[in-house]
Symmetry: C2
């Protein structure tokens, strides 16, 4: 499907995948550790890890020979998923807290415990449903999952009561050739 969210979900959205990535971030690296911690069936863990390795999110590295043993580690793409896990965790803490309070907290390198916030790197302001407008990008196309963008982003609007999109298309700055890649 022609949509960045769908692409991301295709790689990261399978049942156990976010939890596998969380465990790898937390320092687990061996097959048996992951299987035991998650309680996932071993053949499914095999498939998930294969998929993650194929997607370039996880690296499978032999940490000893005779017998060969493998460690699983996050690649740069994998480490880049971690902030997305933070925002998911923050949402879970806020709207679906397990009984007894949040099981884990985050501490930033500035020394403070915090709840992550998604921001605009230009002005530092919060990026949320009220302050952000999506607009068609260079790869916009028609078809499943993008018809939405084709229709409301085309500017017609259709008169639906809350169309946060149509009237903003004209505001898009030029030079849409590439997104900032940050970092």
């Amino acid at each position: 499907m022609h949509c960045s969210i769908a692409q991301a979900v295709g790689v990261l959205g399978e049942p156990w995948t976010p939890l596998i990535l969380r465990d790898l971030f937390l320092g687990l690296s061996r097959f048996d550790e992951l299987a035991e911690d998650l309680g996932i069936s071993r053949n499914l863990l095999t498939r998930r890890l294969e998929h993650l390795v194929a997607a370039g999110v996880v690296e499978r590295r032999p940490y000893q020979e005779r017998p060969v043993r493998y460690a699983y580690e996050l690649t740069q793409a994998g480490r880049d998923v971690v902030p997305a896990l933070f925002t998911l965790m923050a949402w879970g803490d806020r709207w679906a807290t397990p009984p007894g309070g949040p099981p884990a907290l985050l501490v930033h390198s500035c020394g403070e415990r915090f709840t992550p916030v998604v921001t605009c790197p230009h002005c530092g302001g919060e990026a949320n449903a009220d302050t952000v407008t999506p607009v068609a990008g260079p790869g916009a196309a028609q078809g499943p999952g993008t018809m939405v963008l084709a229709a409301p982003l085309a500017g017609a609007g259709g008169g639906r009561e809350s169309d946060p999109v149509g009237h903003l298309v004209a505001r898009v700055p030029d030079g849409l050739g590439q997104v900032d890649q940050g970092q």
Copy 2:
């Protein structure tokens, strides 16, 4: 499972759910619009919407009587998911861009096109795999999905080469009773 990420994934992580939420954010609201845009089978869309309504993420509101017709809209919890969708989208744009470039771009209310960044609200610094350490919270427990936290967070460390966790437990500020709920 006793983990905020698992809770969030339980609500948001089912196959089509992020795309449904994206479409609702973009202004679609009717059953047939969603079904047509996504190409999802209709009975599955029914189940997903029921699940989202039960979880308090989506609201089902009759927008006309005779015949009764329903509109689906994001609740506050649903609007709160949107920043997580932004970070997923940013990841997808960076690491799994569909051919032709990103299909959608984001414009902040400050007027700039941007790539969302997850930050610490105290210092404004970026929150990523290098700058953030998770520590055990008040609801920390043992069992599947939290054994990880029980072991490395206990401070033993076990000598694994990259344990970003153990040495930081002592740094956690007091008063862990509740996470900042922001906004």
